[in-house]
Amino acid sequence: MKQVLVVLSMLLFLGTAAVAAEQGKQEEQQPKWPGVDETVVGKYAKELGRPPRDPYINTDQGDMLLFLFALAGTGGGFVMGYYWHKIFVAGKKDQDREG
């Protein structure tokens, strides 16, 4: 059942890529892969009269945001990996020794 789910998910993603690419050709002027913050949240907020404004601390300047996302991903990945190792590698060894 799990394999069926994985295969179906992959087909869903891959099979529709061609459709999305075709759509992309037709909508060259629109940015590629916009986020739902633009396509849904921003769009409806604008339509309903409350467009989003710049954040108080605007880090969306040049490559600054890319740097911060890289830093956040690295930090988050490190914390996850560190504690994962603590629980599932070192912790498992301890548990096996006790058990």
Partner: protein, 246 residues
């Protein structure tokens, strides 16, 4: 031991593909001040309850701290991780709160969502400080409690652990986006019928969120199965499974 390392390519993937966030968080300036205050007031008791729960549980069981480390970081990374969805031609992100609610408890999951959203609003131009209460309520409160409720329902229906996690992941994701739609439509519907605006916004999320919630469900279920296989004592301690694991 060998199998534990299989998870590392996924962590590497998380680290190596950072990109500008495209997400469901409500940005600065969208909600009027009165609604911002209301959502802060509604979220605050849950955050306080979560802080109390974390303090109490880490005193009783020190092994709870590494779990907060893993699932706190996971919620932070997942909720600013834009995943391209070809069927919609756009990107969106999972919430991760269904998974954290199972492992940390729903109230503690609200705290990790709040901290993640605060960091994203401060440093990643993602969400907003004035809308932090609203985003905490949708992703933290609604996502965590609905995901945890779905997980318990799955256990009551005697589904196996993977499908219970799947149900939790799917529900947390969809309810989070429903929460965002609800907050926006309540504040901004104006003279238009509230339900019509709510329906329009929620349905507009669906092309990205239906595929994404299935992925989030599969990841949540997969992690539960992994933990049961390698550290079933954690799930027993959390009372997620009984003495005889299923």
């Amino acid at each position: 031991m060998k199998n534990s390392w299989k998870i590392f390519p996924w962590f590497a993937l998380l680290v190596l593909i950072p990109a500008t966030a495209r997400a469901m968080h409500i940005s600065e300036g969208i909600l009027p001040a009165s609604w911002c205050v209301l959502w802060f007031a509604l979220s605050a008791p849950f955050v306080a309850w979560g802080v109390w729960q974390i303090t109490r549980r880490k005193q009783v069981d020190p092994s709870y701290i590494p779990l907060i480390g893993i699932f706190g970081a996971a919620v932070f990374v997942f909720s600013c991780f834009p995943i391209p969805v070809p069927v919609a031609g756009s990107t969106a992100h999972p919430a991760g709160t269904g998974m954290s609610a199972i492992f940390l408890g729903p109230a503690a999951s609200v705290v990790v969502a709040f901290i993640s959203l605060l960091l994203q609003a401060l440093f990643l131009a993602h969400g907003g400080l004035t809308t932090l209460g609203g985003n905490t309520f949708s992703m933290g409160v609604m996502g965590s409690f609905s995901g945890f409720g779905a997980f318990l329902l799955g256990r009551m229906l005697k589904l196996n652990l993977f499908w219970c996690g799947f149900l939790a992941g799917v529900t947390a994701d969809l309810v989070t986006y429903f929460g965002t739609s609800l907050e926006m439509s309540l504040a901004l519907h104006g003279t238009q019928p509230f339900l019509s605006v709510l329906g329009q916004i929620f349905l507009a999320f669906m092309p990205t969120q239906i595929p994404l919630c299935l992925v989030e469900g599969a990841v949540t279920g997969g992690i539960l199965v992994y933990v049961r296989k390698h550290r079933p004592d954690i799930l027993r301690k959390l009372r997620v499974i009984g003495e005889v694991s299923q």
